[in-house]
Symmetry: C2
Subunit: 265 residues, 2 copies
């Protein structure tokens, strides 16, 4: 593989920032171009065809920024469109599922594994296929959580009563020790990790961004000892992306955010 110095990362909106944060924790010396499709968020409630068409535009935009590889920092695109993107585009493309499935199987003692994700991610069955390829005895219980991305994108905090009520309702599917590990199958969900953990004590939650970032660190021949720089692009401006991003990012800061007309790509 060509040495990767310039890495493209995209998501439908804010969720990919959790992945970006983890990539910056585990990797050094990168130039990262981050794109958040804030004009068309959320992806997870849309049809497979629309998700694929949006993802193609996102990758083409990042390729126009001359990145050496693309990270799909979106659980929905990783579940629905990754095979097509990898087949069609002449650039290495990394999705979040293989590393997350591996981390879940390693974490689970009982091999009863839960999945929370968008409607599209759950409908795809991608996690179940990947997890049972690694561990054929594994049982996967999946629950679609369509309201979590809108809650997070609208700034609803983890200890807000609305967030708690929504998380509690979705976690009921896993009650009574039905699983010992739950994959947070959407890159937005780490924003509510503390809430999930409080509501489901004893369950391990897998951060798909962290799993991917660890795997990237072992795969990519990266420069060490240099700092990582990030350029931010969004398809919709004036929606407070920079401010919200700064609140959530612990490793990198979102300062300048530039607009992109994504429908042109």
């Amino acid at each position: 593989m060509k040495r990767i110095r310039r890495l493209g990362v995209f998501d439908s909106g804010l969720g990919g920032l959790t992945v970006l944060n983890e990539i910056c924790k585990y990797n050094e010396g990168l130039e990262i171009v981050y794109f958040g499709d804030t004009a068309r968020v959320p992806y997870g409630s849309r049809s497979d065809e629309t998700i694929l068409s949006y993802a193609r535009q996102d990758v083409r935009f990042l390729m126009a920024q001359e990145v050496d590889a693309v990270v799909v920092a979106c659980g929905t695109v990783s579940a629905i469109a990754i095979d097509r993107l990898q087949a069609e585009m002449d650039i290495p493309i990394f999705g979040v599922i293989p590393s997350a499935a591996k981390a879940a199987v390693e974490s689970s003692r009982t091999k009863r594994i839960g999945l929370i994700g968008t409607a599209a991610t759950v409908r795809s069955g991608a996690y179940k296929r990947t997890i049972t390829q690694i561990e054929p005895r594994a049982e996967v219980v999946a629950e679609a959580c369509p309201l979590l991305v809108p809650l997070i994108e609208n700034g609803c905090k983890p200890d807000d009563e609305l967030a708690e009520l929504a998380c509690k309702r979705y976690l009921e599917a896993f009650g009574g020790g039905r699983v010992d590990t739950i994959v947070m199958g959407c890159t937005h969900y780490p924003f509510y990790r503390r809430t999930f953990e409080r509501l489901a004590p004893g369950v391990s939650f897998i951060d798909i961004g962290e799993a991917l970032a660890r795997e990237l660190a072992s795969l990519l021949p990266l420069a060490k000892g240099e700092s990582t720089r990030v350029s931010y692009y969004v398809s919709d401006s004036d929606t407070g992306f920079g401010e919200i991003a700064s609140r959530f990012l612990t490793v990198v800061e979102a300062k300048e955010v530039r607009p992109v007309n994504i429908e042109k790509y």
Copy 2:
């Protein structure tokens, strides 16, 4: 004005169906072309520029269907983009604000009027301007309700605890008899009308679709005694629009729903 037989109606998604329902109650003999931009819903959390660009495509699609006039069945577009659309497009375009403002002033005894709407609608100040043009002594109190459209679009019913909690929080801005009338400034909100009315007894809620439909009935030289037919188009398929629409429409049924690639318009 040219006789209007074929009427285009659009919204970001499901909300416009409440307007469609009212138009069909108060008008007869129309051919209606309904477009729901389900691939890009919600509009209300996006920037003014993006909302205008989406609205232009929506109108151009309806004009390509040879409609005689367009109803903007979207509170956000009516607040943000109506002047530009009316100036740019060579077709009569009706927004929801003038008729709703008039209905609110007529309904209010105290002339203290509330507005609930999307972030973009509240930010625009359009209701305040229009209401105080009609009644200079009127006081307008506005509250942005960014979570209501995602809740409704994701099928959260009016008696659901999540819907109640969200509505209750947003209505707190109007507590203690601060207003006697509240404009539901987004065409999705009539889905939660019963919840609003239970939480704010004694307050009159204005349905912007009903206000517009009554006004249209007085303006349009329509054929009487004939039934109205509706064709449905959406920008995203497979997301259950037809089924959800059928649940909500009382006057017309959503049977066949056709897909549109809206980014081409």
